[in-house]
Symmetry: D3
Subunit: 167 residues, 6 copies
């Protein structure tokens, strides 16, 4: 009976402890393993001149779209290393779209897993790191880029049901 | 003309090769080692209800501001691992401010180094990862947060002189 | 006499080689996936002066207890990267308590997973790294700290049954 | 002509997109979780003088065979961090043999998992990194080593059936 | 009383914020680059039976002393990744001794660098991870090991002068 | 007979221990900081059918040449994490060429630094990981690739002078 780990009476009622902000990686041991996916998007506002260079394949460091896709995928896999309280997860699929769009570069990341927690953070991290990579590759030609509007647009699987954000 | 990049004839003139977007980590061997710093900012738009929880220290995962500061600092150190073409750098100082603000949580990262390239990417990465951490810790209570306006606001040292963005 | 490492024909009979200590990550392919948990504890002996600073929130680098909790959690996730022969595992919960105690700072880490091997190393690693983090944050004010008594106090799940250490 | 890849219409039919080489981590969500293993081998061509030093345990940096076995095992665990589109996997067993052979040092890595994708890349990565480690430890005494013949020799489990390479 | 962290206006005067323990990586930009070294030691208390196995080279996972030396060296290099507020440093030398001793296994790590901050944390981290590795490799045969007495015994270079601990 | 590892009194006289191959990261504290570069090459033997797919940009996972270049650059930066006794180094430039060639895919990596040790291992690691990445992306269409002939072809700077390998 009872594991008796005194001193850590789970979060409930721990107002004082909580008030001190003690971090914890939430216990998901009892959650079901289900198929989950998440889609996040973001945008890097880029000058017309820099966009022309991208279109012409003339960026000194190489193609920022390709590099950003790859960096985004790798970042999705490293999410639990980066975000302190994220659960480590095995991902079953990652797709990162990085495309020239009106006014900048649009990023969409789709992440899938079969696990006990969702993959929102993996999708958002992929978008953020893809955006940072675009920034890095274009910063020599545009010093006023903005990485913006990083949001979750879709989430499926898991207890909290499906979430879809209207754009 | 023609791809023909047999045996690494450095980038010069390789317009066509560039047009194929071949990535490279730019050679900074001849740049001077100087004292450099960069400041970046960003914002996480958060609901009033979630902000109240943060203020009350009642977020289930722990204090998001503290966790985000730490995650931002660690991310700054890992920038070259995350951003494919970033040069690895030894940082001499990192400060990540994450504070409750009107409408959300404001993030400012200041990074310093003594090196051959700037630390813009380190500052921006710290901001992005601090923002993602805030998101992770509040996503149970706010499903429509937006990470936004990640920009470089100050840069000192190095050949390209000082850059300061007006807000 | 032979060490009898059946199951891996490649090394079979290589008594001498075994005697030379060739490392291997033990094959757990045939072990059952079960719910597992482990609790480890440790202690950092800290001067009264340094403990007063911690209590007053006046440590120059920031709150060592908060930082140590977070570092411990992140280290638990990175255990297989750090300990050469540890199996990589997906953790379902990690809690790291770091509290001021008589004579120093007491650390307790609780780790859970559902997998084919136990999480003792994850719990011990979380304790060790939380201890190192405390040390790092207080070393400017106390040059004679000792990280001590890192032990496993509880282990549940898996073939070897439950282990509980009396303190 | 317009890229127009609005909203991730999976790979199917995206000939043009493919022609631009957009990377993706292939979606294995619908593949069965099965028991899988792979064996890879490689060879480091090493001078007779350097092999004598290894045999005598007289290499300045330490025993290259031991270090290479360990580095190979650790690399197998880090494969998904290293190879951009590799799926992260939990490994259940890794064995890396590194032995003096005629003309050099022979490496064999055996990796096992229970998962939705194979472990060929893990076995090959273990071999490559073990080879690089041998190189690193002997480069002071042999400046013309060659790491060669890194191949997959056996693969079991998964849809594509068993593959065995004759040597 | 105010902690006076001049130079970063953002935090200036934020006594209360400081009291909340906001973390920062201390700014060492103005410290001199000097030659530095640190030595740390630790001990793993191990049963006589387990020590006999080590001596006989009969531990199933391989030679724990060798593996621990290597894991310690690698951990020293990864210190800044593990300890949140540690400065990233280029190390010029690392030696980790792990030897059978009376009552257990004794660990000594010596780390050198040329930099703006000391390498105490690198030496301590090497000791801790070497100790954890010993534990991992012997835990099948000894379930009551203790990792203990991790201390800094020597520190040279840098402003705070030489520190030597008597044992 | 004694291996004479003077300079590290701690291990002095431990002839037998040395003969057992205790690893160490060689102390380079007294070496001069000089400008260094290294070039390594390697080859992945690939079937004609797979090469045609690469040329046509029709590989399901994306362009293997682009992905391999990026993976090689990132691996160069991570060399000290991968190769146990490698010194951590700040790189000032990395270029990884990955091109279709007769019978397969040819890889050349050029790495530069200003430091106390050479960058041979960084160049060789970049080549090996670029080769593994090519393998990963083509393994669905060619099951008998060989990664071969990984060699150092050029090395400049440092005490051991310039080394150039004739092909």
């Amino acid at each position: 009976m009872a594991t008796s780990t005194r001193k850590r009476p789970r979060s409930s009622g721990l107002t004082h402890a909580d008030a001190q902000g003690r971090v914890r990686m939430v216990d998901v041991s009892d959650k079901a393993v289900t198929s989950r996916m998440a889609v996040a998007t973001g945008f890097v506002r880029v000058s017309a001149a820099a966009r022309r260079l991208v279109r012409a394949g003339a960026v000194k460091k190489g193609d920022p779209l390709q590099a950003a896709r790859l960096a985004g995928i790798m970042a999705a896999k490293g999410t639990a290393t980066l975000i302190p309280l994220c659960h480590p997860l095995s991902l079953t699929g990652v797709l990162v779209d990085v495309e020239l769009a009106r006014g900048g570069i649009a990023i969409t990341a789709t992440v899938k897993t079969s696990g006990q927690t969702g993959v929102e953070m993996e999708a958002l991290t992929a978008v953020a790191v893809a955006g940072l990579t675009v920034y890095d590759m274009l910063k020599a030609v545009d010093k006023s880029m903005v990485i913006e509007q990083i949001v979750l647009v879709e989430k499926r699987g898991g207890r909290s049901g499906d979430v879809v954000r209207r754009s």
